[in-house]
């Protein structure tokens, strides 16, 4: 048997008895019972499985757990501090930025990671960062408003009409 692995997730150390090539997504969901990261494509195309690895966003469906043991892992569940939501999460609630919400994890984690490396990204950087995170319900307007709010950027894509 390979030696047990230690993985730090949401500030808690876990000793894992799984083969090191087990996908991080499966370990997070099935061994640690976390629901934030979701299986979307298994190909790194959609971003639903996003987590933070060492503060940067990673697609956990393709990463072997043995390859991330050197870094702390954070999931959607681990963003809040002492019961206070992360500002990115607060922005998504404020802008009502979900329909089905399945893609929400990837959106929130991507914006969080972007802010980790660039506290004041410009709009083009934000759009480029979200380009590879897919939403099918068409919640882009609300998600962009939330992301811009979290990034301190003005305005939303949609002007939002008033009743005639």
């Amino acid at each position: 048997m390979p030696p047990a692995m230690v993985l730090t997730v949401n500030d808690t150390r876990h000793v894992l008895d799984v083969p090191p090539d087990t996908k991080l997504l499966h370990v997070l969901r099935n061994d640690l019972g976390l629901n934030g990261p979701k299986y979307g494509c298994g190909l790194g195309e959609c971003g639903a499985c996003s987590v933070l690895v060492g503060g940067r966003v990673a697609r956990s469906c393709g990463l072997a757990v043995g390859d991330v043991a050197d870094w702390p892992v954070t999931t959607l569940e681990g963003l809040a501090r002492d019961g206070v939501l992360d500002p990115v999460q607060r922005a998504f609630v404020a802008e009502q930025a979900a329909q089905c919400g399945y893609c929400l994890n990837g959106m929130v984690m991507t914006v969080r990671a972007l802010l980790n490396v660039d506290p004041a990204p410009d709009d083009a950087t934000l759009l480029a960062a979200l380009r590879g995170v897919l939403c099918r319900c068409g919640t882009h307007v609300e998600i962009l408003r939330a992301a811009r709010l979290a990034c301190g950027l003005a305005g939303g894509t949609a002007t939002g009409g008033e009743a005639a």
Partner: protein
């Protein structure tokens, strides 16, 4: 049903069950169950509403709670909605047609009003006042301020207090009065959605997140008729399942087979995935319908005409038209494309079945599963959870059938997760549709006739497990009449006829947002635009002339006003020299759902602005003004949200969505081949909500999608003068049409030219050790043979064995020696070849493909029977340096003893010590057996004479110590040239002229190094050091294939040694390049990618499958971000490595921080990968010639697999 009320007191409102008409599942029993509960008010004050419809991500849960709160006069947060659980929620049919608010909520609203009446009467009795004299706010009763009845000071009376200790059950009074909308306090106000806080924190439990004690994991293996659910082959194509192919897999519980249904169950999810990947299943060949020409396929599909409208004299009108206009409009197959593949958990125990499901239609699913399993409906409970959004019938039900079958077999709860490819392939599609119009214009500009016919090949899509198992015969599909949605045009044409050709599905299809209405309206609205143009009348004004519905007309006028519509009497003049063209279009529709004549939902109108890039054909929708009349809006915020969603999704559908088919069925199996609109492409959306709060509420889930494609097509015509009558408006389709109409557009000044090829500066240095035979040439061999005695000995075909010894005691070597030996082994990459995939390190068994056959590596562990445990040091050193095994037989030079001859004595002994000190592993590797004549090992003696130079390493005194150290490591232990130098016909490295000129290893190209490299920028010592130390060079790319484990095994090598190897190898790259060349290469590629005039399938696949990780800078992302413009493999002579990495990915990188890449073998076809590779080559390796025979290379590498068991083709 009575179990929903809790002790302590409650009021329950029930109604006799009233199963819906319309869509009824095959397994539905005729027994009408007992009463159904719509509302429970608890003594605690908590209110629970029950609805048979479910929330598909639209926020309907919030709107329903608002309705209950309004009628009951409680606070909205006091209300919890229970949606769709078959045990407790009423059967109200499938959640379709945007009718939840309009239809399904009606009894719920009445139940709340009825409950209020009961509670107010109770209060009136208690207080001794008439009920009319009471008011309620947030569940608290008081005297009506307008009344004359006093209310005692400090008297608090709540609903809860009234119910304390009482259990009331009332039968719904369908005639109970409901509130006047003018009195609404909750309904009609924007309300934050109740589900978002949990979704943003990960607390929400989607069906994917359901975990049941003892739960196993299942995967299904689908048959080869990908995405087709009827035909003579369905349910009867399985030949067999080879259970031995998965025997002994860890965690495997069972393999389940019934008809064409095949599934595996395992303890862990990755074990189920592995079993599904490895299970060998053989299927009969099937011939699927040809969908390469959709129009022909739709016309050939048998159909029954159904006349819905015949007004005036259509035939005469058309014949007498001054301008005859017959038009054909084509809509493609499209998919729901839910972002999460469907999932379910089933638990079969004690003759009962519970299914946790993301279904759209719980009761219909329950009946389907009853039919599938033979259980009574009453023995099946469907527990509904939220799932990834669906916009109609996706695989949410199918996966429940799968889970039920697997759980029944294994007797434990089983969770089944479909793969991305399975969801894409098998979800019932939104059907293709063909619309034809015969008609034209009179001389006075009025419409002469409108003879509309439509073909919609779709049905309800039977539960997949029902047809796969053969429980429901699938030879002949059912036909449903759903092609008639908004088939009657909204315009009052004098002569009009509407014919719906009801037809069976071709590919698996069912309802999808804007069911048949979206394509029908595409035709209606494009056609009237053409009429207006031919009549020389503004398209808004022309529509208004014939729009009898005043609310529709008012909406269209308001929307045009909001968009600042400029009236026009014809298309604008198109400047054929202009690269970017701009246009604006309008369309209007009302979505009519349900059986004809149907129920109208909200009205919607669009004004769309587009730009068209003449060079690429790319269409951008830049702005959409969308007006909607929804009647009364329960939650205006939710309505606005739905409109945004409809606009973005329908823009995506109109611009790019088109399900691909090939002979294996649906060929869109991931997001590159079915790309969705992305954030940078989202238009500016301006929503106009008509104020109709005094009117009945209308469904809003689909309406705003319906005018989309027509508005965009009309804008495209305004921009270009060309009519587009086929969706989607892809770059290649638009460019071809514009080139034909306006002439081929060429804009040359902006296209970057390839950078000049790199040229070596001065002569290439010679390698440190000119290998004697290969270097001096074969002519010298004879002389050498006769002149050098030692060589004569070496040349002997028969060499004596060296006697076995007792396994040496590792204690005889110092720890330092053994540690040195570990470094030697690392530098020599011994474990790379002497470890089989999944096997123990150094235990051998790796199969190396050579032109002469398969060579198997031997067991290097000190096992006395199967390894080298009984080898003396002289036997070991002889093998290493001369290629002679202990017993005297010749080894093949796939084992690079030609390089190891350079290893110093001290290193050799340390290596021996290290290997002998390892744990012995018993692993008998079958002897390598090459075909004749290579099977004659003694012939290797002659080979050695020709090609093997046994002289030890001699440093070059003219060079630095680092360079010489690098040379020793690279040419000796490291044996770089063994892979990176081409071999001659006899398998010897061609040192003369082709040293480091590139070779092949295990199906991968070991690329040329030094001046023979095709890398876009030179390899510096720093580049090589980064590459060898981390497995990634920013200026060249990652180590993959057989090179990745080389880097991994070099991890223990001292940094100075890695630097020395890098310095030595880099010294052979003297190509001169300016310092900013890497940047220039990337910039040029970025422009080429943007201006992909070669845009087509390859560019599309790249955008959806590759760009997320390869495009642009992204310091916020974990792992390397390899630039394709700088990647050596993209510029290489051979396409092999690019094909390898696309097909099989890089699952374990050389070092952890590099990140991984998935393989696409199961997701992309050979043709799709070939298109992708052509796009990558032309975009990222400009100036390099196209690769020849790419399809053959892909097919060969696919057939060779990853070297691991299983097909890797788990579909």
């Amino acid at each position: 049903m009575g179990g929903v009320a809790e002790p302590g007191g409650s009021l329950t409102v029930v109604r006799a069950a009233r199963p819906p008409g319309g869509l009824v599942a095959r397994g539905a029993s005729d027994d009408v169950p007992a009463d159904e509960v719509f509302l429970v008010v608890q003594a605690s004050g908590a209110v629970t509403g029950y609805c048979g419809h479910v929330d598909l991500g639209t926020g309907i849960r919030t709107a329903l709670a608002q309705i209950v709160a309004e009628e009951l006069d409680v606070a909205p947060d006091a209300v919890t909605m229970v949606l769709g659980h078959t045990e407790v929620a009423p059967n109200q049919g499938a959640t379709i047609a945007s009718e939840t608010i309009q239809v399904t909520a009606v009894p719920l609203r009445r139940a709340a009003a009825h409950a209020r009446r009961v509670l107010v009467r109770l209060a009136a009795e208690r207080m001794g006042v008439p009920a009319e004299g009471l008011a309620v706010r947030d569940g608290v009763l008081s005297a009506d301020p307008s009344g004359s009845h006093p209310w005692p000071e400090n008297m608090l009376l709540t609903y809860g207090m009234l119910l304390d200790g009482r259990t009331l059950r009332v039968r719904l009074d369908e005639a109970v009065p409901v509130k006047d909308p003018a009195a609404y306090r909750v309904v009609g106000r924007p309300m934050p959605r109740v589900d978002i806080p949990d979704k943003v924190t990960g607390r929400a439990v989607y069906v994917h997140d359901v975990r049941v004690p003892g739960m196993l994991h299942g995967r299904v293996i689908r048959p080869p008729y990908g995405g087709f659910d009827h035909g003579p082959f369905v349910g009867c194509s399985l030949i067999g399942v080879d259970r031995d192919s998965v025997a002994g897999l860890p965690g495997l519980v069972d393999v389940v087979v019934q008809g064409d249904f095949v599934g595996v169950v395992a303890e862990r999810e990755e074990q189920a995935e592995e079993a599904a990947r490895r299970l060998r299943v053989s299927w009969r060949q099937v011939n699927l319908p040809d969908l390469s020409d959709l129009e022909a396929a739709l016309l050939a599909n048998p159909s029954t005409p159904r006349r819905l409208l015949d007004r005036g004299d259509v035939d005469a009108g058309a014949e007498n038209a001054a301008i005859r206009m017959d038009r054909t409009y084509l809509w493609p197959y499209q998919m729901h494309a839910s972002i999460g593949p469907s999932c379910a958990v089933a638990d079969w125990r004690g003759g009962r079945l519970t299914v946790w499901s993301g279904t759209q239609n719980p009761h219909m699913l329950r009946a389907d599963i009853a039919l599938l399993t033979g259980l009574e409906e009453g023995a099946i409970a469907i527990v509904r959870h939220e799932a990834a959004g669906c916009y109609g019938r996706n695989c949410a039900d199918d996966v429940c059938g799968d889970a039920a079958l697997l759980s029944r077999t294994v007797g434990r709860p089983v969770r089944v997760q479909l793969t991305r490819g399975q969801e894409h392939v098998w979800e019932p599609k939104g059907a293709a549709q063909l619309m034809q119009v015969r008609g034209g214009l009179r001389a006075d500009g009025t419409p002469a006739a409108y003879d509309f016919s439509t073909r919609y090949p779709s049905n309800v899509s039977p539960l997949l497990a029902l047809v796969l198992t053969g429980v429901v015969p699938a030879a002949t599909p059912a036909i449903v009449q759903m092609g008639d949605r908004t088939s009657v045009p909204p315009y009052g044409y004098d002569n009009a006829r509407v014919t719906v050709h009801d037809m069976p599905p071709i590919a698996r299809a069912s309802w999808f947002r804007g069911v048949s209405a979206m394509p029908n309206s595409f035709a209606h609205e494009c056609y009237i635009d053409e009429l207006a143009e031919a009549a020389g009348v503004d398209p808004v004004a022309y529509r208004l002339r014939y729009l009898p519905d005043e609310r529709a007309a008012e909406l269209l006028r308001a929307t045009a006003r909001r968009a600042t519509w400029m009236p026009r009497s014809g298309p604008r003049r198109v400047d054929p020299a202009q690269r970017v063209l701009r246009g604006r279009g309008v369309a209007y529709a009302q979505y009519v759902h349900g059986a004809f004549p149907g129920v109208p939902a909200a009205w919607a109108a669009w004004v769309a602005d587009v730009t068209v890039d003449r060079l690429t054909g790319h269409v951008a929708v830049t702005r959409v003004v969308v007006g909607q009349d929804s009647g009364m809006m329960v939650n205006p915020a939710g309505v606005r949200h739905q409109i945004h969603g409809n606009v973005i999704q329908s823009v995506s559908r109109a611009l790019r969505e088109d399900v691909a088919f090939d002979p294996a069925g649906v060929a869109s199996r991931e997001w590159g081949t079915y790309p969705l609109l992305t954030f940078p492409e989202v238009p500016d959306i301006d929503v106009l909500l008509m104020d109709r709060q005094d009117q009945p509420p209308l469904g809003v889930g689909e309406s705003a999608s319906v005018p989309s494609a027509a508005a965009i097509a009309n804008a495209l015509h305004d921009a270009t003068g060309v009519r587009f009558r086929e969706v989607p408006f892809t770059p290649e389709r638009v460019r071809a049409a514009l080139d034909a109409a306006l002439g081929v557009f060429r804009e040359i000044e902006d296209v970057p030219q390839p950078l000049p090829q790199l040229m070596p500066a001065g002569p290439t240095p010679k390698p440190a050790q000119a290998r004697l035979r290969g270097w001096v040439g074969l002519a010298a061999v004879g002389t050498l043979l006769s002149g050098i005695g030692g060589l004569a000995v070496m040349a002997s075909p028969w060499r004596p064995g060296i006697a076995p010894v007792a396994r040496p005691d590792p204690a005889r070597w110092s720890a330092a020696t053994i540690a040195r030996g570990r470094d030697v082994a690392a530098a020599g990459d011994c474990a790379v070849c002497h470890t089989a995939p999944g096997g123990m390190a150094y235990a051998g068994g790796l199969e190396l493909e050579t032109p002469f056959g398969i060579v198997r590596s031997t067991n290097l562990t000190p096992d006395e029977e199967t390894g080298i445990g009984r080898w003396s040091y002289p036997a070991f050193a002889r093998a290493m340096r001369e290629g002679i095994s202990r017993d005297g037989h010749h080894l093949y030079p796939a084992f690079p003893y030609t390089a190891f001859a350079k290893v110093s004595d001290a290193d050799m002994e340390a290596l021996y010590a290290y290997l002998m000190a390892r744990e012995p592993v018993r692993n008998a590797v079958p002897e390598t057996k090459l075909a004749f004549p290579f099977s004659l090992r003694p012939l290797m003696a002659g080979w050695n004479v020709l090609f093997h130079d046994t002289r030890p390493f001699a440093p070059d005194p003219a060079r630095s110590a680092e360079w010489n150290r690098g040379a020793y490591l690279a040419e000796g232990l490291g044996h770089c040239s063994a892979c990176h130098t081409p071999r001659n016909a006899l398998g010897a490295e061609k040192w003369r002229g082709a040293w480091l000129g590139g070779g092949m290893a295990e199906g991968w190209e070991a690329p040329a190094l030094g001046n023979l490299s095709h890398s876009p920028v030179p390899w510096t010592a720093d580049d090589l050091f980064a590459y060898l130390r981390t497995g990634f060079s920013e200026r060249h790319g990652p180590a993959a294939g057989p090179m990745a484990p080389v880097v991994t095994h070099m991890a223990t090598l001292p940094e100075a040694d890695v630097r020395a190897i890098a310095a030595y190898v880099a010294s052979f790259d003297t190509r001169a390049a300016s310092p900013d060349r890497a940047q220039a290469v990337e910039q040029a590629a970025a422009i080429r990618a943007r201006d992909a005039a070669w845009a087509g399938e390859g560019a599309r696949v790249y955008g959806g499958s590759c760009a997320a990780c390869h495009e642009g800078q992204a310091p916020h992302m974990f792992g390397a971000r390899p630039s394709l413009a700088l990647n050596s493999n993209v510029s290489a002579d051979r396409p092999d490595n690019l094909a390898q990495v696309i097909l099989h990915g890089i699952s374990r990188p050389a070092t952890p921080g590099v990140g991984a890449m998935p393989g696409f073998a199961a997701s992309l076809s050979d043709a799709q990968i070939a298109a992708l590779m052509r796009h990558i080559r032309v975009t990222y390796a400009p100036g390099r010639p196209p690769w020849e025979g790419v399809e053959d290379v892909i097919a060969r590498i696919r057939a060779a697999g990853t070297g691991e068991p299983g097909t890797g083709e788990h579909r």
